[in-house]
Symmetry: C4
Subunit: 126 residues, 4 copies
């Protein structure tokens, strides 16, 4: 334990917060998450930059993942400097001061049954 694992820079190209939900709340609420694993012995100070199709990037948003912890974050909880609008195409870059692993998951419950996807984010070699 305590061995740093992963990369310091990750990207997600297909971000989108579905505009509405169905089903039992809060479990079935439509949402989009970025999940971070920090296996190192140092806290990870993470900065998120949000890219849009029609305006300049917004950020950094900041979250911390303590040493030897995971943090599963909803994009719609990012409010400083400004909330991310629903039903809008965006993308994100996630940078950390220690190596981390990032996975991107969306739960879409706009119809009666939920639909779910998840993918390991793009790990930059740079």
């Amino acid at each position: 334990m305590g061995k740093a694992l992963g990369r310091k820079c990750w990207a997600i190209a297909d971000n989108y917060l579905p505009g509405w939900s169905n089903g039992k709340l809060p479990d079935m609420r439509s949402h989009e998450a970025f999940c971070i694993l920090n296996t190192s012995d140092q806290d990870a100070h993470v900065e998120i930059t949000i890219y849009y199709s029609d305006k300049e990037p917004v950020g950094p948003y900041r979250v911390t993942v303590l040493a030897r912890r995971t943090g599963h974050f909803d994009f719609n909880t990012l409010v400083d400097p400004e909330p991310i609008p629903c039903a809008t195409d965006y993308a994100s870059v996630i940078e950390s001061d220690v190596p981390i692993v990032v996975q991107h998951t969306r739960l879409d419950s706009r119809q009666a049954e939920n639909s779910l996807f998840s993918t390991i984010a793009y790990a930059s070699n740079d």
Copy 2:
């Protein structure tokens, strides 16, 4: 910001435009997207080549993603040199003059409830 992130050549092996849709339009229309993130300070001039199982490749199709922007594109909006037929197996190569990140997402609403998948595309090391 402004740091180029990603690769210049990406591939998707499982492309398929579902032949019909269910549910509230336009949100629930079956579609397939390639989502591009261009974090660099230069516009990305992107060329897409479509591969089929039974004929020569078609392309290049061209899209532009401005500097520090994301572009989420539906394959069925690619019409020049020719539209991609529905319900046909295909694959795609996405090449850019600056590094980009590409994610592949399909919404299939052929049954009453939608189904969704997404994966980071294959980033070529070449």
Copy 3:
């Protein structure tokens, strides 16, 4: 065009052919596909080896993807040397004599609505 793209050896760890289907056939039949893109100017001669949890590997199964073509193959069409049983855990290694890109997709229609996933397979560096 004609530039070889990808790797010569790929792996899928989670293979499973769902045991039954619902919905309009053949579109909604439960199935599992390996999708190959061969961008090179040479035909790809591909060998698939199937790994099980409780017996020795079976193979090679053989398919060909012509130069500059994609091939989307259902695992349940692999019958020589023997069919793959349904509702059984397995895994696969896909090897080619030219570089290819491989994507793994499953459509599970065991319930009334289909569920779909897809991921780029693991590309071996070896």
Copy 4:
């Protein structure tokens, strides 16, 4: 056959065991799997460490995947040193003494129809 393929260290950042299920059991039970392929001629001795958001990591859990075999494991069968609670965010690191390939799959049947995702896990270069 017998050629070792993959890496010795893998990570999954978005682990979550859904809290309930719908549909025909056991097929439609909500669950989360880590699927391992061991193509080598040596048995893989695998250690899993579970990371939480609010307490120290727990592990190692141990499984073995015999030479030239695949093993598809449910996280909820990991009970020693302690079971993983349902409806709790966690993450995992999967380490082996021989190279393996790891894929992460979740079946969520909390609503009437199941939803499925799968992604190749993050392969550490370290």
